[in-house]
Amino acid sequence: MPKIYFDNNATTRLDASVFEEMLPFLRDNYGNPSSLHSFGREARRALDNARAHVANLIGAEPGEIVFTSGGTEADNQAIIGTVDIIGKPGGRIITSAVEHQAVLNSCQHLQNKGYRTTLLPVDREGRIKLADLDKALDNDAVLVSIMYANNETGSIQPVEEAASIAKSRGILFHCDGVQAAGRLPIDVRKLGVDLFSLSSHKINGPKGSGALFVRRGILAPVLIHGGHHEQRRRAGTENVASIVGFGEACRLAKQRLDETARNCATLRDRLEKRIIEEVQPAVLNSCRGICLPNTLNVSFPGVDGQFLAINLDLMGIAVSTGSACHAESREPSYVLKAMGRSDDEASSCIRFSLGRENTIEEVDAVVLALKELVRSLRAT
């Protein structure tokens, strides 16, 4: 049986055309974009081109895009860099309990240095309450960081409203958009965010590149110090081939946005419907409607999620029990716990995250495997 990949929130396959675009920069076009000669100019042109594609994906200007090594670095730069610039001792960062570890552990790092963190709770659907945010914005607040869509459940936060609350109080707003950019239409102007993180490999681009949108008019946060690259906002010679691939992935994502979202949603809905009907009892952890179109998170009470995921893997079906970035510790998902799920529900969950290549036949094959495995695991 050919393998089935339902783990696209962990990473995605490199698109063939992205690969083609990258190739020249892994072979003959090895120039350093900062060099004055023809080799350098060629790389610079490619970088500018990629920057335009990334900016275009989220409605930004090219000059507002800072390339990073990925989403994690972008989050670190946004949070640690901003706090660094503002330099307010004891300042407070307001974020949510369900953020990615790149955000939570950046906050933890700052907390260890004397800053303070407020984790906003979420409801059963995984969303923050705006009133909680409003209350948390005291005089010490220096930054709000709220993700666009959750990596484990796909839940979408009220980012536009949250950003507007922060703005009305004069506080900077960062949004981790790693799972959302390229999967949902994003317009940073409409959202009103100051900082926005993106990742390449979640949208069929290569690993090793990402970007931080830094709204024109704010002081750019800096994390990595060195040369004058990226307008002094991120030092280090650019990862040209990867960035070229990222640019192409953004161009394609923008072009295919509706089609991909529609296809994924059709498959996701079918998967959800069949699981709920045929693999009972199953508890839905992602909600319909206000959710990433590709993500389905389900708990199978009475089944150990890790046993289930391993058995699926042995059958050639790739899913995950939660965030791949959290895999070292298979603690019951902190995201699901924050959403009020019990230990049993949280440790019996499986995340299915679909991509543009998945098919209806694969969905049916996965349901078949699930029915069999869940029954036999419940029996033992």
Partner: protein, 361 residues
């Protein structure tokens, strides 16, 4: 790839023994699934040698990928805490000397891991223990010492139920440590991989029992230290910090060498002696947890007796006064027989049974 025989789950700690064990099975053409058990959180893991450390886990993953087998990390932290650590603390708090490795083998490695194996359709599990199994006529399966006696680990495995033993494979049980090392080299595992057994419970420079006490937020049981003449020679802040035979960190100065002779959990008194001969016991009583062929034995039985790991077994007599209790007499006295430790009975290399030491005399 074509495999022979049924699927087998190999426990891989990242250490040399379990690495070679898994490799030997792969070499035989078996379909092997490698697993590493995560028993403690990375941030509470104590030593690099510990089988639960992140470095060891990733080493096990690396080994598995070189062997071309799937590898998974199974999170058994909650079960380890409930089944092993709680029991371990309970024993310390009663002034006893627990043996968490035996419990871990019984409940986790040869307990939960079996459930996992069954769930993936594997009929057998393999570990890197230096022990062997032997099928007796009539179908029962006995545990045996590893062929290479200096590394024998059968002591830690005595309580694994017979029904489980028939589904266990010990690929290095018939090999010497040198042979295991040379196989590891042959296989190209050149990097330094050390041993992990027994290291889950070691903390450099720290009292493990005190860490457990804090973990469970339990009260200490402080009391008096009683000298050889029955007078109070000092005070201590918890009986869990003492073990029979202990000769250091007693917190008192008598001007001569002294040892813990016994601990009374009721009065929280720790009795010490300056006579090393006082530590010798002629016998013990133990609660039996396992006896091959059932516990309903009659009459005294002569066998070999071991009261701790790395102790040369001594000859002695076992009596079965009441169901589940054994009375043991040694031919030659044994030093520092500690309640809470395991006593294991052997006939030659064969494990006859074992239990938990309740008292010595």
């Amino acid at each position: 790839m074509k495999h022979s025989g049924e699927r087998i789950v190999a426990a891989m700690s990242g250490g040399v023994d379990s690495t070679v064990a898994a490799a030997l099975l792969v070499r035989e053409g078996r379909e092997v699934i490698g697993v590493t058990l995560q028993l403690q959180s990375c941030d509470e893991v104590t030593t690099e040698r510990s089988c639960c450390s992140a470095a060891a886990t990733s080493r096990a993953g690396g080994v598995a990928s070189r062997l071309g087998i799937p590898h998974y990390v199974l999170d058994f932290r909650k079960e380890f805490e409930n089944e092993v650590l709680r029991h371990t603390w309970a024993e310390y708090s009663r002034g006893r000397t627990p043996n968490p490795c035996v419990i871990c083998n019984e409940k986790i490695k040869f307990g939960l891991l079996f459930e996992f194996a069954r769930s993936v359709g594997a009929g057998k599990i393999a570990t890197g223990h230096y022990a062997r199994t032997e099928k007796a006529p009539g179908g029962s399966v006995f545990l045996q010492r590893g062929l290479f006696s200096p590394k024998d680990q059968s002591y830690f495995l005595f309580s694994v139920p017979e029904s489980r033993l028939s589904s266990v494979v010990f690929p290095v049980g018939g090999l010497s440590k040198d042979r295991v090392r040379s196989i590891s080299k042959e296989l190209g595992f050149v990097e330094e991989i050390s041993e992990s057994q027994d290291a889950c419970f070691a903390v450099r420079g720290k009292s493990y029992s005190e860490l457990l006490r804090r973990r469970f937020g339990a009260p200490a049981n402080p009391g008096k230290v009683i000298g050889p003449d029955g007078t109070v020679v000092g005070r201590h802040d918890g009986i869990h910090k003492f073990t029979v035979g202990q000769g250091r960190k007693l917190g008192i100065a008598l001007g001569e060498k002294c040892w813990v002779k016994s601990i009374d959990p009721e009065t929280a008194c720790v009795y010490i002696t300056t006579e090393s001969g006082d530590l010798l016991s002629r016998g013990l009583t133990a609660s039996v947890v396992k006896w091959n062929g059932g516990c309903d034995r009659e009459g005294p039985l002569e066998c070999l007796i071991q009261v701790r790991y790395r102790q040369a077994a001594v000859r002695g007599t076992v009596e079965f006064p009441t169901q589940g209790i054994v009375k043991v007499q040694f031919q030659n006295p044994i030093r520092a027989v500690a309640p809470g430790q395991a006593v294991v009975f052997y006939d030659g290399d064969r494990v006859l049974g074992g239990g938990w030491i309740e008292s010595s005399y």
